[in-house]
Subunit: 312 residues, 2 copies
DNA sequence: ACATGTTGATGCCGTTTCGGCAACAGCTAT
DNA sequence: ATAGCTGTTGCCGAAACGGCATCAACATGT
């Protein structure tokens, strides 16, 4: 199905690769063909679309506008294709997900496994990044669904849902704190602590609270991997901080205990946002998975708030 | 700017005109060229897009899917163009409005006049239709903004705003009812009444209420023009029913009096919805007018509810 | 029933567009 | 300076496109 003029597709490839020759390789055409189509586009728009440097091409302002249009066109073409395909019973396609690490332990694998149990011909691509990189990948059209900390999101993204989970301390089952129902930050800081590095959003949630305390913290470990922090906590190295989302299996094995943080009587929330590009209609199979994702996270949010009724 | 393949444009023209030869005339090309592009499209999609009859072409299911995609593409191309144009200071374009008659007396002319006072290079196309025709024109991409009675709208439209106005009786200044603050339906039916025909939504608002009454109505006039009904009321022919939106000037001239309807102690609402196609980003100049329209209707809603505080 | 005017589709042919090859100039890093 | 990359350009064959004339199928009017 080659609906749209080659110029559109070539432009898209050049934008992604940042180079005409690289785009030509991806497209399996001669670089001269790509170069000419770009020049033709620029003549029709009446303004240059890229700034040429010796290293490659960068979008101009007008180029970014066209990129937005082209992305809308190609993503909607995908949706159209899937609509036509599903008309003849073929329900297939690839769902591309960009998400933060907290989801990789149980939420995402559970969901993908169960979804593929029902829809075998739907493939998945998942990429784990930091929150801001998730949003960026979404904006650039490199992912269909994004899950990230709910900070301010650019206007070209739409927040489909917002789920809040309690930030808590994670300790080994034989840790002195393990028998408590909740913990306060000072209680945790009396023990060795596994801190998140600034690239993790947990850092930005806890830092302001820690800064208010005047105590001298115990010697601490710092890490940028939720996975690593969790495993360190399981080995009794110290107290880690994260949401309950990331400790599903280890919590079931009774090796780890999750203790909701109590900050002067009120919970510490970690807000998780689900995002999609605003100017876009998702293919049916993607929309279907998105609904399940929202439902599942909503379910976990509900279960958590039932397990740990709000203190304040 | 001929970005997109001729097939897309030809398909769009054929869909609108319902005929290959008519589309060819509009496009200033030979009909054979159009015919071939359609056939090529059908081969690429792998399914016929039109059903050929001797009279012309009708979209198939797949055709309608493609029509949706093509509409998204072409409308987004328009937006892109206006974005590029506004970058070089040129703020121009055409805002296409489909609305029901209630707006034509004062809301729309006021708004368009004041908007053009500020943005001279923005043109307007307005088409007055019945509520369901307004929504249909919007779905077909024949208008940018639709204003209609807020009944159930198809999922491809988005309700930008919902404003409620009181339905009321409209009488000449020397009518026996004119000195009242509000009126009930039985009070009105004691006088000659100017009824709306079923094609107007006022009919569907009032009919259920009238049906509940057991009284024998006075001989009545029926009409399908808000304008005509209003002018008849101004001449003392009888009691008309409509919202306050349609009697701005005549009310200021003190020739007409608006009396909110009181139905068993509660107002009778007429819900006005503002709609746009959901799968679309509006050009900046259209979005700008849309905001003003929403603001203005909100303002009128506010002023009305202040003038006639709710009875219930 | 017949003629006439539509409709969309097709074969033929000139024009335009597109893409591949090779060569070029400009820049960077070794 | 050399080697390796970038994007661009001239040349030429191939593919796509559009116009004209024509066709069969159907609707309409007499």
């Amino acid at each position: 199905m080659r609906f749209h003029s080659p110029a559109i597709q070539y432009f898209h490839a050049v934008r992604r690769t940042g180079s005409i020759r690289a785009a030509a390789r991806v497209l399996n055409v001669a670089s001269s063909a790509v170069s000419r189509q770009i020049i033709k586009l620029e003549q029709e728009v009446g303004s240059p679309l890229f700034e040429r440097s010796a290293r490659g091409l960068t979008l101009t302002t007008v180029g970014e506008m066209l990129a937005r249009h082209v992305m809308n066109v190609l993503q909607d073409l995908d949706r159209f294709r899937s609509d036509v395909a599903s008309l003849s019973g073929a329900w297939h396609g690839t769902v591309s997900i960009a998400c933060i690490e907290s989801l990789t332990e149980s939420v995402l694998p559970d969901l993908i496994a169960s979804h593929r149990g029902r829809a075998r011909r739907v493939s998945f691509t998942t990429e784990v990044k930091g929150s801001s990189d998730v949003l960026e990948a979404l904006s650039r059209g490199e992912a269909d669904i994004g899950i990230a900390m709910a900070l301010r999101h650019p206007p070209d993204l739409r927040q489909v849902a917002l789920k809040r989970f309690r930030l808590g301390a994670v300790v080994a089952h034989d840790h002195p704190l393990a028998r408590r129902k909740t913990v306060t930050l000072p209680q945790c800081l009396a023990f060795p602590v596994i801190h998140a590095l600034p690239e993790l959003s947990i850092y930005h949630l806890l830092q302001p609270l820690i800064a208010q305390l005047s105590e001298t913290p115990e010697p601490a470990i710092q890490a940028n991997s939720i996975d690593l922090m969790r495993e360190l906590a399981a080995r009794g190295v110290g107290v880690a901080f994260q949401t309950q989302l990331g400790i599903g299996r280890l919590s079931r094995d009774s090796r780890l205990v999750f203790l909701p943080l109590d900050n002067a009587g009120s919970p510490v929330w970690s807000d998780l946002g689900i995002y999609v590009r605003a100017e876009r209609t998702l293919p049916a199979y993607t929309e279907s998975f998105l609904q399940e994702l929202v439902r599942e996270l909503g379910e976990r949010e509900r279960r958590e708030s039932a397990a740990y009724p709000q203190v304040a």
